[in-house]
Symmetry: C4
Subunit: 268 residues, 4 copies
C-alpha cells in the first residue's frame, strides 16, 4: 500500500462514490467535532461581549480550522484519483471538484482566502462561512436522513412543482392586485409590487408580522378572500410532502410483512 | 391548404378543443415570451424610479404587446371555424369567444382600448391588466398542471363544499359574536360585523396581523375558544386537497404496478 | 286527512325523525329565505348608517320574522305527536321540544320575548339572536353536510379527544410556565395565568397577534421551545379530521367499485 | 394479608409495573380530585385579588396537599417491594424511585421542602410546582391516551427525528443568514444569532408576533424565501404525526373487519 493509498484510507470518512466508510475513526470524529465547533464559534462570535473578550481566540480557532480543512481538501483532491470514476487522473479530480460535497467544502474555506486576494465587502465574505454549516450533512447519519428527504422530494417532484408553480402565480397575482388596491391609501407600505409581495408572502404563509396590512374596505375584503383561498394553496406543498413521508413508512412496512394467500400460496 | 388553414396551423399553439399542438414553434415561443415580459413589465412599472426613467419605453412596449395580442386574437377568431365545434361558422366563433381562454385573452387586451372609448377610472382599468398574468396558464406545461389541480379539486368537490360552507358559517357566527362582545370596548375596531369579519378571517387563517384583537376578558376568552375550534375547520379544505393529491399519486402508481394473483392469473 | 295532518304535511320540510321531506315546497322555501334574510338583517343592523336610516324597517322585519317563526314553532309543537316517537302525545311533544333543532328554534325567537318579561341586559339578549344563524343547518342540503361532518367527528372521536386533552394540558402547562418566567418583567401583560393563557392560545394556534410576547431572554427561549413543540400538538386535531375526511372518500369509492377475482369470482 | 399488603392494595391506583388497578376506589378518586384542585389552586393563586384575599387558605391547602402527597409517596416507597421487580427490597425500591411516575411525584412535592433546606430563589421553586400538573397523566384514562400518543410518536420516530433535525439546521442556517443581513440595519433587534433565532422560530412556526421582522430590501427578499421553504419543513413533523395517527385508526379497523376470500376461505 503506497502512502497515497494509506492517506486515502485515513481520510476517507465521507460518502463519496462508494458506500463503505473505511477512514480512520479518530480522524473522522476529529473533523466532525471541528465542524460542530465551527458552527458554535460562528454563533458565539455574533455576541458582542464574546467578540470583545475572545476576539483573538476566535481568530486563532478560525485560522486553525481553515488550515485543517484546507489540508483535508488538498489531500482529498490528491487522492481523488483512487476513488472517483473517470478516464484520466485529471477527469477523476475534476469529478471530485464538482461533486456537491467538495463544492460545499471549498465554499466553506474560501471566505478566509478571498480577502487576502481581493478587497471584498466583509459582510458578503462572512455569509460564505455559512456553508461550513452545511458540512454537517456530511456526518454519516445526517447524510442518511438527507438522502431520505431527497428521495421523498424526488417522489413527489411532479405534484410539488405543480403546487409550487401555482403558489408562485398566486403570490404574483395577489401582490399586483393589492398594489393596485392599496397603493393609493398607503403609498409608503404598498409602494411597489415588490413591497406588496412582502405582504403576500407574510399573509399566505400565515406569518402575518403586522407591519403591512390593508386599511381600505376594498383592500380588506380582497385580502380576506385572498387569505382564505391562498393559505390553502401555499399549504399544499407541506401536505404533499408529509403525506409522501407517511406513504414511505407504510410501503416499507408492507414490504416487511408481505401477505400470502394461504390456500394457493399466491401473494396478494 | 388555404391561407386560413396555414394561419390556423401557424398560430395554433394552445390547447383548444384538440389535443395536438401543431402551431409554429417559433411563433408560440414568441407569444409566451411576450406574456412573461408583460408580467415583468407590470411589476417593474410599479416602481417609481422605473416609471420615471422608462415611462416612454414601457408605454411603447405595452402598445406593441397589445397590438400583437389583438392580431393574435383576431386571427384566432377568424380561424375559429376550423377547430371549434358548432353547426355554423357563427356558432363556432361564438364557442371560441365564450371559451375561458378567449375570455382571459380579451380581458387582457381590453384595458388598452377601454379608456379610448369611455372615461373610466384609471385604477380599475389597470386591474384588468392582471388578466394578462392568467395567460401564463395557457403555456403548454402550465396548462397541464392546471388541469391536474382542476381534477383534484373536482374529485374532492363534495367534501370541499361541505367544509367551505361550514367555514363560512363559522366566520359569520364568530364575527357576529365578537361584534356583540367587543364593539362596546373597541367601537372603532369592531365598528360593525364587516370589520369584525376582518378580525375573523385574520384569526381563523392564523395570519393574525395584530391590527385588531379583543381586549376585554370575555372577548379574549371567546376568541380563544373560537381560535382553537375555528383554526381546525378553516384548515380542513387544505388537508382535504393535499390528501386527495397524494391519493392521486398512490392510484397512478398502483395502476402502473398492477398486481396479479400468481395462481389464477387474475388481477386483484 | 284531518286539518292537523294537512298542516303537518304542509310545514314538515325539515329532517325530524323521518327521512322523507314532504312539506309544501313553497312554504319551506319561504322559511329558508326568511332565515337567510334574518342573517343579512343582523349583519346590516351592525352598521351605524343602516341602523340610523332603516331602524324602523329593521324592527318591523324582526317582528314579522319572529311572528312567523313563532307560528311555525307552535304548529310544529301541535303536530309533533304525528311524527315524533313516544308513548303519549305529551312524551312525543317533549321529545320534539328537546330535539336539537327545536331548541335552536326556541333560542332563536326567545331574544324577542325575553325583554318583554324581564329587564335583561340588552347585549346578552342580542347574542341569543345568533342562534337564528344556526337555523341555516336545517336547510336540506346543509343539514346533509352537517350530518357528514358529524359522522367524521364521531369516527375520529377517540383520537380527537386524546389530542384535544393533550393540547389542553399543553396550554395550561405553557401558560403557567410563561407566567412564572415573564410576570416579573411584564407584570401588566402576564398579570395572571388567565392572561398568560391568552398568550398561549395566540401562540399555539400560530395566530400571533403581537399584543403579548416574551421579552426576557429566558422567556424567549422557553416560548421558542413551546412554540416548536406545541404548534405540532395543537395542529394534530386538524390533521386527524382531514385525514378522516379523505378516508371516507376512499371508502365510499371502494364500495362503489368492488373488485372481484375474475377466476374464482371471489371478492377481494 | 399483612398491613403492608392491605396498604399496598389500598393505594395502588396507578399504573406501575402491573396492568390491573385494584386500589381503593375512594382513595384513588380522592387523590385525583386533589391533583385537579392543586392545578386550579396554582391558576387562582396567580390572580392578585385571589392572592390578597385567600393567601392564608391557599397556603393551608398547599400544606395539606403536600402532606397527603408526601404520605402517599412514603407509603408507595414502603410497599414498593411488593409490586416492583428487583432482586432485593432495596433494588425494588430503587426501581420505584427512578420510575418516571415516582420522579414526577417527588418533583411535585419538592418545592415545599426545598426552601426549608436551602435559601433558593423563590421563582425557581414555584416552577417546580408545575410538575404537579403532570400528575394528571397518572389518572387512569389520561394515562391511556398518553400511552397512545407515545406509541404513535415511537412508530414515526425515525421520520420525526429526520425532519426535526432538518428543521433545526434550517433554523440555525436562517438565523445566521438573517443576522448577517439585518444586524447592520437593526442592530438592536438582530443583535446576535440568539436574537435572530427568536425571529426564525416566530417566522417558521408562522406565529409572527411582529416584534422582529426584516426592514431592508435584501432582508425581506431572503426572509420571504426562507418563510416559503421553511414553513413547509417545520410543518412536516405535524403532518407526519397526524398521518401516523390516522394510519393507526385504519389499521385497527382493518384488524376488526378481516376480509376472507370466499372461494378458498383464506384470509387476504
Amino acid at each position: 500500500m503506497t502512502l497515497k493509498e494509506k492517506i486515502h484510507k485515513f481520510i476517507h470518512g465521507e460518502k463519496g462514490d462508494e458506500d463503505k466508510v473505511t477512514g480512520n475513526e479518530f480522524f473522522i470524529k476529529f473533523i466532525y467535532t471541528l465542524i460542530i465547533l465551527n458552527i458554535i464559534s460562528i454563533i458565539l462570535a455574533s455576541y458582542k461581549d464574546v467578540r470583545n473578550e475572545y476576539a483573538g481566540f476566535l481568530e486563532y480557532f478560525e485560522m486553525f480550522s481553515v488550515v485543517i480543512f484546507t489540508i483535508e481538501y488538498i489531500l482529498r483532491l490528491w487522492t481523488a484519483d483512487l476513488f472517483y470514476k473517470g478516464k484520466t487522473a485529471f477527469t477523476k479530480r475534476k469529478n471530485f471538484i464538482f461533486s456537491s460535497y467538495a463544492i460545499i467544502d471549498l465554499l466553506a474555506i474560501m471566505p478566509f482566502y478571498l480577502p487576502l486576494l481581493f478587497p471584498f465587502d466583509l459582510r458578503f465574505v462572512r455569509i460564505l462561512r455559512l456553508f461550513r454549516l452545511l458540512r454537517i450533512f456530511k456526518i454519516g447519519r445526517f447524510s442518511k436522513s438527507f438522502e431520505t428527504i431527497k428521495n421523498v422530494l424526488k417522489e413527489t417532484k411532479e405534484e410539488l412543482s405543480i403546487t409550487v408553480f401555482i403558489s408562485f402565480i398566486f403570490l404574483i397575482f395577489s401582490s399586483t392586485l393589492m398594489y393596485y388596491v392599496e397603493s393609493e391609501a398607503q403609498p409608503e407600505k404598498f409602494e411597489n409590487i415588490g413591497q406588496s409581495l412582502w405582504w403576500s408572502v407574510a399573509t399566505l404563509t400565515t406569518v402575518g408580522y403586522g407591519d403591512v396590512y390593508p386599511i381600505t374596505g376594498l383592500g380588506k375584503f380582497i385580502s380576506g378572500v385572498i387569505a382564505l383561498i391562498g393559505v390553502a394553496f401555499v399549504a399544499l406543498p407541506t401536505g404533499i410532502i408529509s403525506s409522501a413521508f407517511i406513504n414511505k413508512i407504510q410501503k416499507d412496512r408492507k414490504n416487511a410483512e408481505s401477505k400470502k394467500c394461504k390456500n394457493c400460496g399466491c401473494e396478494v
